[in-house]
């Protein structure tokens, strides 16, 4: 941040502070203590009900507050205690707070407002600030949610610092990967999932996940995949408080693969060659020793990570503010020089009361991020991970043999030199995209991605009467992002080399804005509670464009000196510019909430959305929902006992929509350019235009209907239990549809082509009890999910899946009755141990089913029984979607000490373990290849190695590649100590807590790749996923 920015911030702060005035009517003092132990409660919030006037208790539990004239109540609240309302008129107050054992009294954020949890009829999971404050920040708030709420599956996209995670609310809702991302609404601003990296974890007041259609319907469009509402902290009236959260630590890989060493490699390569009819390749494998451990070269056992988050908040009875800063720096554990993430951000939230009727406020955030990435993650085409896995262990890291150095390929001037002056080793055994990863790192220095995000909203709230709230808000996001990179002249191998350096810059800008106007009317008539909300919204996104320029042949050859300021000729310059296609949605919505004595509950919602993605006949969609609740425990007949303390039954049914997954303008026929040809002998490229695809004027909204039944209960005083069952059906899934190629269009037309269903069960169980001086809390959740494609609008009942693997082509299939993109291939039935086994595998005519097989080859299942092995013998081999996910948090506090254990996991899914390149014959193997078939009785699951794999043992998609993705991970183990008040008061502090944390300490799994947690739209195919780190961190939380 520049000096001027600091000045600006200071100025804003000053303005805010000077605006805080107050005039007192009555000064009330009091003391807050715990009901059980009579100990003072520090930092309890005391608020004048219905106003912004608030204060906090000091270290002795004392508070002083000025109460305006008139009749008012004070609300006293503190984390872990039930709120208490007291009448201040008695003057000096003695407030006793009971520890809260239930969350039913909590307030949850719902769309366009808040609701008492006790009267909520939808399936909403909530995570509060106190649940998050001890979780070490990784810079991504979705990581903090992992394992904490039922029905939400979160998987890291990569261990690359700054990577986002994949979040699925109640499974996969649609076919398009982006469409499965939940809608993120941060302080009322709809933001895209990729852009939520600008928030400090400690800025979060609460996160609510709207899981069922009833809760989400108020967001109609794009709410089909769930809605995540993030509310950031606001200032509170009272004294100004400062808080600091910081951590520092070190990360290392949790697991390395067992790869062959040079001797083992040479032995197996000899065997492979001879089996294929070739010669011995290495005459003396033992002489090669262990060779090079490429993984050891790329992994960093001491990657550093630090995060510092500061906030200042406070205010008076007119204005409150919350200002925060964050500084995050994280190094990756793979090739750290080219794997780093750095972020700086600032946020200012404030509210201002103009008079009795008008309140306005705004939230403004800015973040700058810089990330340096490996270039390739989960890609088999090079990059440090892929190279380390596939390179032969024989090639040395650094070549020092003078005889070798006198020969090619080391004669090239552009070979990369190690710090000792000798060239990095160049493999002549494994070629293609694989290269010495240490040399590769050198060629990518100075490549980085950057982003600047400005997100903000402002609102005006009018309360003309006590019952009516009118609110207008305008929000926007302006995002700039791009990349810059210099590629020097280099020579990594005869295949991978660059003879002209280049400097490239890509810049993108996008602007989103929305306006929402709502009016809410609430009324209580006797025991009838009504609330009616009407609203209108307009949403515009994707305004912007992209440009890229690359300049070749710079007069310098290092990234430090490279600059676009060097003159370049047109012949040495390429560029590309594009506009994004604007997308707009217009909405009207309404909601009715009603309850009788908070016992019988009803919510009805309707939303009508129009989208630019559809033609005039189907532009608008209507999305209604209704839900009811019954708080049985409020009935007179409900027995007063200590078994079931409270019980609420609820159920709902509703519909939400989605307009994604298809290109814009799919409804109208278009002629587009880009069908080019070169004419004339100058090589001039002419632009050809042709119809792109067939138009589909009948495209309509994809609809997701969901039925949800659940209950919330408090049992045996200390337990809370929430159970939900649901059935979510998506119909008319939007997707480009494969049509016969003879039609002759280059792009697939879009259509509503399929239906899919998710059925699930979610259980959240909590336990909280103070036993002696130990405060114990346990929160567990488990979710069961079954995903099934129920209809495919095609004359065949399947669609080729979206997931391919190297030369195998597509390895998944979308078929009715199966879960989305299930693995599809051959089933193995052991290995032929002898020729007699081959000869005995005959069809009903006595012919050999696998006439070309040899001992050591897979026996493929002839599933269609036609006596031969063909495509028709392929079958479904499992799904990448976990059937169960679970999380467990245990917290315990004793005096100043606290401990937290957090574990999460998934089960029931398959992972395609595809770490080895199939088409590189000499690529290295994992050590499990040592247990290959090498003679009768040696193996029945790993086939023989041969250079002529006529049986397709390794080339065919089969269950050989699939492994169980079950895992249980000890995600966090934390030990903290909070200093006692006496000590703190001496240093003027209200809170000081220090902690040590271990992350990803233990992962129980049988998976043989790096990490079973695989997110992203990769359908469980592991091609060299950047693994998550194991970290040890120390941290401090300080408040003044």
């Amino acid at each position: 941040m520049s000096k001027n920015d600091c000045k600006l911030c200071g100025l804003i702060l000053l303005l805010l502070l000077t605006s805080l005035g107050s005039f007192a009517q009555q000064i009330v003092t009091g003391m807050v203590r715990g009901a059980n132990d009579s100990l003072p409660v520090v930092a309890a919030t005391v608020t004048v009900k219905g106003t912004n006037i608030a204060t906090v208790s000091d270290i002795k539990g004392n508070f002083t507050i000025t109460v305006p004239s008139g009749k008012h109540l004070l609300v006293v609240s503190s984390v872990g205690f039930t709120d208490v309302e007291v009448d201040p008129s008695s003057g000096n107050l003695n407030v006793l707070l009971s520890e809260s054992t239930t969350s039913l009294n909590d307030v949850v954020v719902v769309g366009y407002g808040t609701q008492k949890k006790s009267v909520v009829t939808g399936a909403i999971s909530s995570v509060k600030a106190k649940d998050l404050e001890n979780v070490p920040s990784s810079g991504r708030i979705e990581q903090a949610l992992q394992g904490r709420v039922s029905g939400v599956t979160i998987a890291q996209n990569a261990g690359q610092p700054g990577s986002n995670a994949t979040i699925r609310v109640r499974g996969i809702t649609t076919f398009d990967d982006a469409g499965n991302n939940p809608l993120w609404v941060i302080d009322g601003i709809v933001v895209d999932a990729g852009g939520i990296g600008y928030i400090n974890q400690s800025d979060i007041e609460s996160i609510e996940v709207l899981k069922d259609a009833t809760s989400a319907a108020i967001y109609g469009t794009r709410a089909a995949s769930g809605v995540i509402l993030v509310t950031t902290k606001k200032g509170r009236a009272g004294k100004i408080s400062f808080s600091y959260n910081g951590l520092y630590g070190t990360s290392a890989p949790a697991k390395k693969l067992d790869l062959l060493n040079a001797t083992e490699y040479a032995t197996l390569m000899n065997e492979r060659s001879v089996a294929g009819g070739g010669d011995i390749v290495y005459s003396d494998p033992a002489s090669l020793g262990n060779g090079t451990d490429w993984q050891a070269q790329i992994f960093n056992d001491d990657a550093r990570r630090s995060d510092n988050e500061f906030s200042i908040s406070g205010g008076g009875d007119k204005s409150t503010f919350y200002l925060s800063f964050g500084l995050l720096n994280q190094q990756g554990i793979v090739s750290t020089d080219i794997s780093q993430y750095d972020r700086k951000n600032i946020r200012l939230n404030s509210t201002h009361k103009i008079n009795k009727f008008f309140t306005f406020g705004e939230t403004v955030g800015y973040a700058h991020a810089k990330s340096i990435g490996l270039g390739n993650t989960n890609s088999e085409y090079g990059g440090p991970l892929s190279s380390a896995i596939n390179l032969d262990p024989i090639t040395p890291l650094i070549e020092t043999d003078s005889a070798v150095l006198k020969q090619a390929p080391y004669l090239n001037n552009a070979v990369i030199l190690a710090p000792n002056g000798y060239p990095y080793g160049i493999s002549t055994i494994v070629g293609q995209e694989m290269s010495n990863p240490k040399a590769y790192e050198q060629t990518r220095l100075g490549n980085y991605n950057w982003s600047d995000d400005f997100v903000g909203n402002a609102y005006l709230e009018i309360k003309p009467t006590q019952n009516i709230t009118i609110r207008s808000s305008i929000g926007g996001k302006l995002a700039y992002w791009g990349s810059q990179g210099f590629t020097p002249v280099y020579y990594l191998s005869p295949t991978i080399n660059v003879t002209q350096n280049n400097l490239s810059r890509n810049s993108n800008k996008v602007f989103y804005w929305n306006i929402e106007n709502t009016i809410q009317y609430s009324k209580i008539i006797d025991d009838h509670n009504f609330s009616i909300l009407l609203g209108q919204g307009a949403y515009v996104d994707n305004i912007g464009g992209s440009s890229t320029v690359t300049v070749f042949n710079l007069p310098v050859n290092n990234y430090q000196d490279a600059s676009f300021n060097f003159p370049s000729t047109q012949a040495n310059r390429t560029d590309g510019v594009s506009d994004f296609t604007e997308h707009k949605i217009s909405s009207l919505f309404g909601r009715v909430n009603y309850n009788y004595k908070e016992k019988y509950l009803f919510t009805g919602i309707i939303r009508r959305d129009g989208s630019t993605r559809f033609g005039s006949n189907n532009k608008f969609g209507n999305f209604p929902s209704a839900s009811v609740g019954w708080v049985a425990s409020r009935e007179d007949f409900w027995p007063t006992n200590k078994v079931v303390n409270t019980f609420k039954l609820r159920g709902g049914y509703g519909k939400v929509g989605n307009d994604g997954g298809i290109p814009d303008f799919s409804y109208t026929p278009l002629v587009v350019g880009g069908y080019n040809y070169t004419i004339g002998n100058g090589g001039t490229i002419l632009t050809g235009y042709a119809p792109k695809t067939l138009a589909n004027p009948d495209l309509h909204w994809e609809e997701t209907t969901q039925a949800d039944v659940g209950f919330d209960a408090q049992v045996l005083t200390n337990f809370t239990l929430t159970v939900d069952v649901y059935n979510k059906k998506t119909s008319g899934i939007l997707r480009p549809v494969p049509i016969p190629l003879y039609v002759g269009v280059s792009d697939q037309p879009a259509a509503n082509i399929a239906d899919m269903e998710n059925r699930g069960l979610e259980i959240e169980l909590g336990y909280h009890k103070r036993i002696g001086q130990v405060d114990l809390g346990i929160n567990g959740n488990v979710s069961f999910l079954k995903n099934e494609v129920t209809y495919v609008n095609s004359d065949a009942d399947f669609i080729d899946g979206g997931a391919g693997f190297q030369s195998m082509g597509t390895v998944t299939r979308i078929q009715v009755g199966q879960s989305f993109n299930s693995f599809y291939g051959y089933k193995t039935m052991g290995i032929f141990q002898t020729q007699a086994d081959v000869n005995a595998y005959v069809n009903k005519d006595g012919g050999l089913i696998q006439p070309n097989a040899k001992p050591g080859d897979f026996r493929w299942a002839d599933l269609n029984g036609d006596g031969t092995i063909s495509e028709d013998d392929k079958t479904f081999l499992g799904s990448n979607i976990p059937k169960e996910t679970f999380g467990l948090t245990v917290t315990a506090a004793y005096k100043g000490f606290d401990v937290m254990i957090f574990g999460q996991g998934a089960a029931g899914n398959k992972i395609f373990q595809g770490l080895r390149r199939l088409d590189i014959a000499n690529a290295n193997y994992q050590t499990k290849a040592l247990d290959r078939w090498a003679g009768p009785g040696t193996s029945n699951d790993f086939p023989r190695l041969t250079s002529s794999d006529d049986n397709g043992n390794f080339q065919k998609m089969s269950d050989f590649y699939l492994e169980s993705g079950d895992y249980l991970r000890l995600k966090l183990l934390q030990l903290g100590y909070t200093f006692n008040n006496n000590f703190l008061s001496r240093i003027g502090c209200t809170k000081l807590r220090l902690y040590v944390t271990g992350e990803n300490l233990v992962t129980l799994t049988n998976y043989t790749g790096y990490d079973p947690e695989i997110g992203g739209g990769v359908f469980g195919i592991d091609k060299g996923y950047y693994p998550q780190a194991r970290s040890f961190l120390v941290g401090a939380q300080i408040q003044f």
Partner: protein, 505 residues
């Protein structure tokens, strides 16, 4: 007070409703950077862009990984698929050992040609209403028809049983289309080319129009089509016009054999006198984006990239300086090497890495099915490597669809491989490389075609046409009565009325 609030409320509600009323236009936006299909092709300039899009598919001959030349070579007895490993391109590998099936058959050989046909059909449907010079319009029609014929010719030779589509397919008809007999396909091809010939220019100015179809190109293609359709008598007059009255001398259009055989493969020799119809490539794409590789906006020659040795490293300045980072596809078989070893065209045809390696002059990484004999006709020189952008995606060498030596030998074949004219045609092809005359015969013509056109993608079609495929490809997994044609890609059978080719069901 109460009243004032009511007014506020009413006015707010009015604003809300107003917004809602406007919302229909709010959510209507016009596409940018594209054209509405119903009004396009209105003038000459737009029609020309439609013609360029129709030419686009010509790149299939040598552009993209799935190009005609390397694929058809791989299925012949002269070449193997090669490449990095046994699964480096499942399609090309499975055609090479004739285990190709509906699943492994790359759909693009079917689909890309139909894209060309769709664009020709669209243009032919639209041109009658285009406001433009009528002579020029006639030429556009001729070119569209000739291109459509060329695409159908590839399809019918590869798949034989294909649908004949002459108009853009309506959405409602997508799944109602049937295959037709190969006779009616050939009839349509011959009709299109016959109609095109009079509308096409005899020659074109090469700097600005080189690569566009001329009269002589359409005649040459039609002559070749007639031979495949077993109508040699109809081929003869067409090919005679192409080849000229005196074999070895320039024809009426200025075409003649190049003096030096190897000059045919110099990438700067675009539109040389021997070239009748060639596919153009450019090094001006600068693509670094592999996702566009082989697509309509990829203008490079991928055959060049594919056929060179892998990690070729010169150990001595005496070793040939070639582009070192090929992918080792289409290595020649030992059988072909033995046959051509003493032919003067050997060195231009075969890059003998084995000999160079044995002499200690080079090293290279062995690819799959390595013999050490690489397809020299397409191996690029370092000078052909693009100065900017990805080298792999920017080779500019053109490839021949048909050249004069081909039409010489085709005419000799059409003449029944006998008579003085056939003898003169054969002699001219041999004389150009310094070979003496041999008596003309079908066998002599077959041998000559094999050596002259080796590695140019013709051999498999020749073997099938001559009925020699079953014997010549017996050791390559060829099944007589089945492997003469390719399986229809699986995607085309899903929900359609198409019937799979015999033996592939």
């Amino acid at each position: 007070m109460k009243k004032a609030h009511s007014i506020k409320l009413i006015s707010l509600a009015a604003i809300v409703l107003l917004f809602a009323a406007c919302s229909k236009s709010f959510v209507d936006i016009d596409p940018q950077g594209v054209f509405a299909a119903d009004t396009y092709y209105k003038d000459q300039q737009q029609a020309f862009t439609g013609l360029v899009a129709t030419y686009d598919i010509m790149r299939k001959n040598s552009g993209g990984f799935e190009n005609m030349i390397t694929f058809m070579n791989a299925g012949s007895d002269d070449n193997y698929a090669g490449g990095g490993g046994e699964s480096d391109g499942v399609g090309i590998q499975s055609f090479s050992n004739h285990t190709v099936n509906a699943e492994t058959m790359p759909g693009s050989y079917w689909g890309d040609h139909y894209q060309g046909i769709f664009r020709a059909n669209t243009l032919l449907q639209k041109l009658p209403n285009t406001q433009m010079d009528e002579n020029l319009k006639a030429r556009f029609v001729g070119e569209a028809k000739a291109l459509r014929a060329i695409y159908y010719f590839n399809l019918v030779r590869m798949f034989k049983n294909i649908p004949l589509i002459l108009e853009p397919v309506e959405t409602s008809d997508i799944y109602n289309i049937k295959q037709t007999s190969s006779d009616s396909i050939y009839n349509q091809i011959e009709k299109d080319l016959t109609e095109a010939i009079p509308a096409l220019p005899a020659t074109v100015p090469l700097p600005t129009e080189g690569g566009r179809i001329t009269k002589v190109a359409a005649e040459a293609m039609l002559g070749k089509v007639y031979i495949y359709d077993n109508k040699p008598q109809l081929a003869v007059p067409l090919l005679a016009d192409v080849n000229g009255s005196t074999p070895g001398q320039p024809n009426a259009y200025g075409n003649s054999l190049l003096t030096n055989f190897k000059d045919l493969w110099v990438f700067t020799n675009k539109f040389n006198s021997e070239s009748i119809l060639e596919v153009t490539h450019s090094n001006q794409v600068f693509l670094g984006d592999w996702s566009l590789w082989g697509s309509s906006s990829d203008e490079s020659n991928t055959v060049d990239q594919m056929v060179g040795p892998r990690s070729y490293t010169r150990l001595s300045p005496d070793a040939p300086d070639i582009y070192p980072a090929g992918w080792s596809f289409n290595v020649f078989t030992q059988d072909f090497y033995d046959a051509i070893k003493n032919d003067p065209r050997f060195s231009a045809t075969v890059f003998d890495a084995k000999a160079l390696e044995d002499a200690g002059l080079i090293t290279y990484v062995y690819g799959y099915q390595n013999t050490g004999y690489f397809l020299n006709k397409f191996i690029p020189m370092p000078s052909d490597k693009a100065t900017v952008g990805s080298a792999e995606l920017n080779f500019q060498g053109d490839s021949y669809v048909i050249r004069l030596a081909d039409t010489y030998l085709l005419e000799a074949e059409a003449l029944g491989a006998s008579g003085p004219r056939a003898q003169a045609l054969l002699d001219a092809v041999r004389a150009r490389v310094g070979l003496p005359s041999v008596p003309v015969s079908m066998n002599a013509i077959k041998n000559e075609r094999r050596f002259e056109l080796a590695g140019e993608g013709h051999r498999f079609f020749d073997l099938v046409r001559w009925g020699d495929a079953a014997t010549k490809l017996a050791n390559r997994g060829f099944t007589a009565g089945k492997s003469e044609i390719l399986p229809i890609p699986a995607s085309e059978l899903k929900g359609t009325l198409l019937v799979q080719n015999p033996g592939y069901e």
